[in-house]
């Protein structure tokens, strides 16, 4: 397939189809409506099922069902809709089922507005729903990366029997860029012997999809298994990009669209003689703490930039562990920071004016 000029939302839809996803359950919300719209057009062509549910709560429980039957399944929404889905997400995590959930963040809290934001970092990485669980959270900075992450996300989900979230801001959902669909690196994805697809073969145990464990010993066993798996994921799946960090005296850090603007700011600041580099988490859970630990022995200070009031900055501070100051610059209201905003902050940093 030749390169196409696609909106992030469309690319996410096509990527899911290319990854073998044939089931999509969702409910529309701006700024990600092009995902359900695209799936409603494309899935019937592929013999799949697109269903606009009566609500986000219904949609996530349909995902739970399809995932339990071993299907590759996806849902998508934007911030308020993702909040509605949280109970189901926690059930899916407990039932150890793979699926892909896309959140194209808009500004909040509340119904908020339709402009881009990154205010759902806590929700995505620290739980969101109840109980001790994690999602793998992938944070694309480009339309191409959004497509790649959806495709690889299905493999990660199947490998670890875990829900994977692709967390983009509204800009990722709406901007158009050239994109191509390429298969992710080959993985040994285990067969879904646990899937509830009937009990023809009586030699195996009945497949039971469940998230209710009344006996504490059973609940303990399940959570310990989950925790062990999370450790495995931290070992194998943590991803980070560093840019011009080799000789950096300052470190700017951001994820998603903000990271792209930060990269542009690094180049501008370098041209002004400021030795700054970028750390960009590609997975925000697991969080690439090691990159910051390493940088903490090298740079004078960190600057975290987010389209939020300060969420990822907490993980940066945990990783830096007090070794160096970690400053924060947030953009609220649905505004997108400019390259110049960030350069100004970096100048302040070098002048000790923070």
């Amino acid at each position: 397939m030749a390169k196409k000029l696609m909106k992030g939302s469309e690319a996410i839809g096509e990527a899911a189809i290319q990854a073998g996803c044939r089931y999509f359950f969702g409910y529309p919300i701006t700024p990600q409506n092009e995902i359900p719209e695209y799936m409603s057009r494309r899935l019937p062509q592929e013999g799949g099922c697109f269903l606009q549910a009566e609500s986000e709560v219904a949609a996530i429980n349909m995902v739970y069902g399809a995932a339990g039957a071993g299907a590759r399944v996806m849902t998508s929404s934007s911030s308020p809709g993702i909040s509605l889905k949280q109970e189901g997400v926690s059930y899916i995590a407990c039932a150890e089922l793979p699926c892909v959930i896309v959140n194209i963040m808009r500004v909040g809290p509340g119904l908020g507005g339709i402009q881009p934001a990154q205010g759902d970092y806590f929700q995505a990485t620290k739980g969101g729903g109840h109980g001790d669980y994690h999602l793998v959270v992938l944070a694309p900075s480009t339309v191409q990366e959004a497509a790649d992450m959806v495709m690889e996300g299905f493999d990660i989900a199947d490998t670890y029997r875990i829900p994977v979230m692709v967390l983009g801001d509204g800009m990722i959902g709406q901007i158009m860029e050239p994109v191509e669909f390429r298969q992710p690196k080959k993985r040994e994805v285990p067969a879904k012997t646990w899937a509830a697809t009937g009990w023809e073969d009586k030699s195996r145990d009945r497949a039971v999809i469940n998230s209710l464990y009344i006996e504490p010993e059973q609940m303990l066993e399940v959570t310990e298994r989950l925790m062990a798996r999370y450790e495995q994921i931290k070992q194998n799946e943590t991803k980070v990009e560093t840019f011009m960090m080799e000789d950096a005296e300052y470190c700017i850090t951001a994820y998603g669209t903000t990271a792209r603007i930060a990269k542009s700011a690094v180049l501008k600041a370098r041209a002004m003689g400021i030795k700054v580099g970028l750390i960009r988490p590609i997975t925000i859970w697991p969080f690439p703490s090691e990159a910051y630990e390493k940088a903490a022995d090298q740079v004078k200070a960190f600057l975290t930039v987010e389209m939020s009031a300060g969420q990822m900055v907490e993980d940066v501070r945990l990783a830096v562990n007090g070794k160096k100051p970690v400053y924060f610059k947030g953009t609220l209201g649905g505004f997108v920071p400019t390259t110049q905003d960030m350069v100004n902050e970096l100048v302040k940093l070098t002048e000790g004016r923070e």
């Binding site: 695209y38 507005g113 402009q115 480009t142 901007i175 649905g334």
Partner: protein, 229 residues
Amino acid sequence: MSNTVTFKRYTVMIGNFGSGKTELSINLAIDAAKKGSTMLVDMDIINPYFKSSSKQQILEQAGVRVIKPDYANTMMDVPTLPAEIYAPFDTKPDRAVFDIGGDPVGASVLGLLQEHFAKCKDESEFLFVINPARPMQSTPEAILSLLREIEAKARIQVTGLICNGNLAQETDMDIIAQGEQMAEAVSRLTGIPIKCTAVKEDLAPSYEGNYPVLPVHLYMRPDWLNEIL
């Protein structure tokens, strides 16, 4: 061939979203404002971001009067249009460019103006922008089906095709040529003539094709988009 393209008083840009209507509308309006009174009517009520009216400041500095959906560029997701959209027919500026949302639903708003266009038939043109690099737009049949759907919803007939094959920053002469081949195929199927080829301004001088050239400056692209991560 690179004659300057001439446009009628009322130029309506329609086509698939991502075909390039908004960028072309802004270019046309800013160019027209150098020669006479100009309005840009942003009738896109389906896109939450990247509407032509988001460049209101640049447009107004160039002397273009911008008419836009009531809640455009706000946090509101309310698709309504102001009565001001009729202004081009009341005040008859030298040029009015209409930027229409990129699918049959988006184009249905044009139906509002159908009677006005009917009265000014000779002064109106409906230009369908073609970019085969868009998904589900890679065959003449697919493009034609969208064109007919939009015509039916908007209650107008397309009078010209604009070749706008592009992959944003990765556009090259091959992509432009593919746009032209696709437009030619649609033209053969429909008898609708090709009006011009839009070419990114840096490539325009080296264009050697058969159609009048519309050089395009990219107003909508944020600078940080050039950072490929």
